[in-house]
Symmetry: C2
Subunit: 274 residues, 2 copies
Amino acid sequence: MLPSRPGPPALPAPDLRPELSPEQARAAFREGAVSPTSGWSDGYAQANLVVVPAAYAYDVLLFAQRNPKPCPVLDVSDVGSPRTTLAPEADLRTDLPLYRIWQDGQLVEERTDVSGAWRPDLVAFLIGCSFSFEGALTRAGVPLRHVEQGRNVAMYRTAVACRPAGRLHGPLVVSMRPIPAALVSTAVRVTAGMPGVHGAPVHIGAPEALGIADLAQPDFGDPVDIGPDEVPVFWACGVTPQAVIEQARVPFAITHAPGYMLITDLPDQKLLLP
Amino acid sequence: MLPSRPGPPALPAPDLRPELSPEQARAAFREGAVSPTSGWSDGYAQANLVVVPAAYAYDVLLFAQRNPKPCPVLDVSDVGSPRTTLAPEADLRTDLPLYRIWQDGQLVEERTDVSGAWRPDLVAFLIGCSFSFEGALTRAGVPLRHVEQGRNVAMYRTAVACRPAGRLHGPLVVSMRPIPAALVSTAVRVTAGMPGVHGAPVHIGAPEALGIADLAQPDFGDPVDIGPDEVPVFWACGVTPQAVIEQARVPFAITHAPGYMLITDLPDQKLLLP
């Protein structure tokens, strides 16, 4: 009789997730757990992952330099290495909960492990994530509706074009959080102090001015309910490179799945100004 | 009888230099005027210039990402273009007061115009300069001894290694300003708010800990007298890439001469946080 194959491990209960160390969280994901990472490992920075062939690495780095709000680069791997200084023990091929594989700008697959797709010519970019400032927002009394509603954050492709770089071009992607009107200033002040994880909002209210027709239909993540005295506040989002990979038809890329981030060993506090 | 050839134009008097617009200052340099630019065009950011072949551009950009204190990138040109968004009317081949040409890591020539050395495969990096925060220091009551003494700022190669990137490696270079002991905190606070132009000091006092044996013998610029109640304060310096070009023996490069910067159209205020 064959031994039964284990399924993915049970997820830690929601109230335990903030308490997990980054190493514990990554171990759970390495073993196959799948979950958006908002609310996990409180106090530690999270990062977007963009992996491209070395032939595209300069274009990606230049795109990031020209578009620092959506693409604050926290680290770049050496060619072929799945390692990052942000989490020296982590393996970038296995330690995120969910990955996407892209060919010629098409999303071809989502996987929990990309070891089999790794190549010696790949370069990994780790880009700051707005989940990293959510702890600071909570401590400042700003509620996080997507966490309360048990959903991934809502993300939208906008009508705003990024500044192109080499072969790369594409729209700005934003994340949206509903903020009580009386706390919008607080949310601006708190996040302005963390430019390494997207910084201050790029847009407050008026989603139609960003080309967003219906907030209930995000392009990535989940729809999040907006209360009557709440304003949609938009931050530049690290999913922007995925929209660029798509629009610029990059021949090959690996990314995280939106909301399913690398949890780093870097304390959020290290991202505070000055 | 041959017409007499004009020499370089007379320099504007020191008290007029802060009043010149960036365009007027660049026009003077384009016509051949030669002067360090500290104190010129008050209120406008200045920039270090590093020009390398496209084959080295990724290494330079990655080096800058890994060493943001000495190398805060303000703009990168497209391949072959001597233009920058920081000063759209400027020509990077003529509009700085003094350039250096490097071959195989050797400084081979200083020139006031590098049009003849320009190549279609060159990429220009504009890197923030500490001269850009000198106006803010003055307004905060912090004296600038090198300006008072009519000298270029003093710069030193240190014993601190930068984080390498690809083929690039080399020491951190710092600029030094003597600051009255009671104003050192003010100087830290003012400059911490401008990370795009090197930000807060990297080191205060104790030059020997940086490997600087004699402050009276700077590696670049001029020696600056230090008063009895003054402390030497060190900022990361945009000359660092020149020490890297030398140590890593980059095959070809063009840079500004230390202290002889590009004066941009960007108001210093734009470099303030957040």
